[in-house]
Symmetry: C2
Subunit: 586 residues, 2 copies
Amino acid sequence: MTGAEYIVEFLRQRGSKNFFLVQGGACAFIIDAIGRNKEVDYFCFNHEQSTAMAADACWRVNKTVGVTVATSGPGATNLITGIACSYFDSIPSIHITGQVNKSESSEFIGANVRQTGFQETKIVEMVKPITKYAVQVNSIDELKKELIKAYNIAISHRMGPVLIDVPMNIQKEEAGDVIEYFAEQDRSIASEIDGFALTKKQVQAFLTDAKRPMVLFGAGIGLSGAEAQVMRFIEQHQLPFVSSWNGISFFDHDSAGYCGQIGVYGNRGANFILQNCDALLVLGSRLDNRQRSGNSKSFASDAKVLVVDVDVEELKKYRSESNFSAIALDLSNFSKVFGGIEVAKFDAAWLPYVEEMKVKYFGKEVSTYAEKNNTLSPYLAVKKLNSIMENDAVVIGDTGATVCWVYQSFHRTKQNLFTSGGNSPMGYALPAAIGAKITDHSKQVICMIGDGGFQMNIQELQTVVQNKLDIKIVVFNNAGYGIIKQFQDSYFDSRYFATGEGYGVPDFEKIAYSYGIDYIKITDVNQLTKETFSKSSAVLIDLIIDTNTLIEPKLEMGRPIHDQFPYISDVDFKSANRFVNYKRLR
Amino acid sequence: MTGAEYIVEFLRQRGSKNFFLVQGGACAFIIDAIGRNKEVDYFCFNHEQSTAMAADACWRVNKTVGVTVATSGPGATNLITGIACSYFDSIPSIHITGQVNKSESSEFIGANVRQTGFQETKIVEMVKPITKYAVQVNSIDELKKELIKAYNIAISHRMGPVLIDVPMNIQKEEAGDVIEYFAEQDRSIASEIDGFALTKKQVQAFLTDAKRPMVLFGAGIGLSGAEAQVMRFIEQHQLPFVSSWNGISFFDHDSAGYCGQIGVYGNRGANFILQNCDALLVLGSRLDNRQRSGNSKSFASDAKVLVVDVDVEELKKYRSESNFSAIALDLSNFSKVFGGIEVAKFDAAWLPYVEEMKVKYFGKEVSTYAEKNNTLSPYLAVKKLNSIMENDAVVIGDTGATVCWVYQSFHRTKQNLFTSGGNSPMGYALPAAIGAKITDHSKQVICMIGDGGFQMNIQELQTVVQNKLDIKIVVFNNAGYGIIKQFQDSYFDSRYFATGEGYGVPDFEKIAYSYGIDYIKITDVNQLTKETFSKSSAVLIDLIIDTNTLIEPKLEMGRPIHDQFPYISDVDFKSANRFVNYKRLR
């Protein structure tokens, strides 16, 4: 077995049987080994960026670790934006890059030059800030050890992407058999630090005085597989809860306690409830600024906040915030800590208020712009799409206005809804949909993407056709960068430089035709029917949205999350914030 | 003036008036400043990668420093592959990235987390290995100083790309007027080290004994603007010369002394002459492995080699090679050193041999595959394209088999022919053509690209149409990754994994139509006429090339450059290597 064959066999034995790749000189030996291994498959993409985005989607779909193979230099650097998606969202993925023969490298020659071998690039150094681990291997022994090490790092604790750079000479060398090694995820952080008993005491102390408690769901619940444990606790204590975007797919939105998604683009009611609670339990969320707003001190400022996270470094962020406390815990151990916890009697007005806010705001997002101008409302479109898709569909949101519209109005029951939350690159959703479909052919896969994002990786339509993938591409086509236009409305007197002016969109009907993909133009929500998704081949669904359609609600800079645009009346504001004494900015 | 306005005005004053960009939240203030400045223009691309490739082309076309503006996170990381093009080929370019407000950054919060602000990414750290200088500015004062510093670094000594990361709060801050500062390139390396007199002595010593001298042209000749000085020296002494790929555009190929391009894909005759010389003077070339071959010791092994380079680090590579000596010199000072140098009397057989090789091999590349199979020969196609284009056209080669075919058979007189030599990413030529056309509208711009490379950045067809750029896109469509297929022929028994099998090409006629671009299909070289390039709008010229068409000649692994595939007879081999006693590998 050569080094190249070893890599393929190692990954196959761990369940990663689909290799996403673009050919190239420095990875040709690995790809030949993949092609010759009858138990794995490879998929040719048309840009390496897309392979990494597709690999990111694998784990999100069915917890298989996605794999890319790329050549040195531009092949490797093209992966970077996709790898960053996995890093910021704690998704395990493995990236194998070919590298020039060691004898042709700058290091070997001992000169500090820009490049020695053809397309030689210091990829390991470059990806350090966006990988959990990255290493170049310089012997077969290193290759074997580092594969195990990197794989385990990727899937342990707070997960993330890893990269292994393999010089051509190592790919060709004789490697021997695959080392017998059973990778075990190490889930012992909490017990190492405190022991569960101590942690339990902290949680109990936090909840003993809570009169208006609230739980915030983060991605950590799903990443650790703690969905059922957490939901049992929620239901047992009748706790109201809200969700971050990356937490949104790990429970049924019909759950009695669920009040909506929060943050800058959050549901108004969910934001009000959160801002009015006196005890906020955060489970597996890093509370980024799209949740807390740029003015982070204004978030839950009247509450005690207890953050539970697997990553101790994330918890250090709260050292200077007097109302915050923190627990390092892998949520897979949730019940060990939260089982038997007693929750204090709520303030009698709390649940009625929660219910009132929910009745008034939950699922009530509307486009006042579309209503006024009689154009297609993206909110109504998402609701309609939601109703016509399969119950267990995989739905991927891209970025910009589109992902806001989707996350604001999607009602998740059993679907798998995800996006690249922290990195949020334009163009993620199409290659992610490809990766999702390859990983689980049985699922209906729907990508929801804006015209700007769609153009970014439009070359992958060829990959869709080449592999006969029946994904549904819904383009929210507002012929502009909607989210930035709204920013330009607020701060630049609606000067639409490079969002409307200078930016253009091709005719997607012709593009679809040229790739041999079915096309449906939607100008009215009622044109969306069960049949829209019924084809057993790829379909491009072009939603024609007026270019000035807004995200509603949306926070403007400097505001707290309980005061979103468009602004509600002072009476409604006061009623919604009845437990606290928030002053309104003018 | 705000920080954002300052950046725009600073660059405008230095002659960079075209900003290549994609909009985004963290660079919106800079783009608003660009839009409001009446003396500059911006151009919206559909992927940041392309903006950096287009910026790379600017300097190559007319010595203006190309500029990109990108947002934080994916906007910035998408630039990386394009920036690397500039780095490896010593091209100055400036990249301005927006970054999250300092108050929202991980650094400010003092936690070692993956990300704090939305799309926060450590771009400065990531691009260090592919930039000459990269810095984040954290005050207006730093912004002003670092702009000057970075700009000067970009254009001085061995040039290269620089990146300045600008947090949003700095973009908004009051900045005052642009500092009066006249950037001067510092061209004093040689005098700092030795003084020209000493250098001259070295050169004289090297040439005193030379009986079979030869000069190798590198990119440094053009980068330093030394074309005329060098050519005067060549002509004065009737020296034969060859060229690296990046040196190929800085002289007239009709020059009496020119013998062809060398290397792995070099002209056979040029390779023979180089391998038979006894004194090789290398001017501004880093002698990468596509010139010397992987087996670099076999390059000019019978000659003394004197390498002249501006970058002292490059020269250190030769410390262990006993036949090499080196001089650190910026070639803009070429005449100060080489003026008055005496060249020894040549071996009487040398120039007749050179002429014999030239007659036999120069410009004689043929596709034996195409001849045998009666298919379109890429060599004949390049020659025909060469003859029908304008005299001063800008011609950009992509990578893979296409760039080999182009560089093997293009005869440059006054055209500007370039490629991304060291990085050589698939998809470079299309955005580079866009950058070239924007930088000099008066020139005919022709991009020569394979089907694989074309797909990589196909989204930029929209940029071509949006900006009404009349570039000519010649696709060498062999429906596969030709250069790797040839590698697979040699080493993998023609198993075409991921080059033919699993890889597909859309119908480019339909693609062109869908973007509103004219299309011409070429199945016979005679269909190429003056009219092919006569349209005043963009045209896609689809050259249908058989998928198994080879690069001829091409070096196989482990061989020296005087023994290329397809292999010539032993008699011809011996005759071509008459001055040396090279043994042939079997």
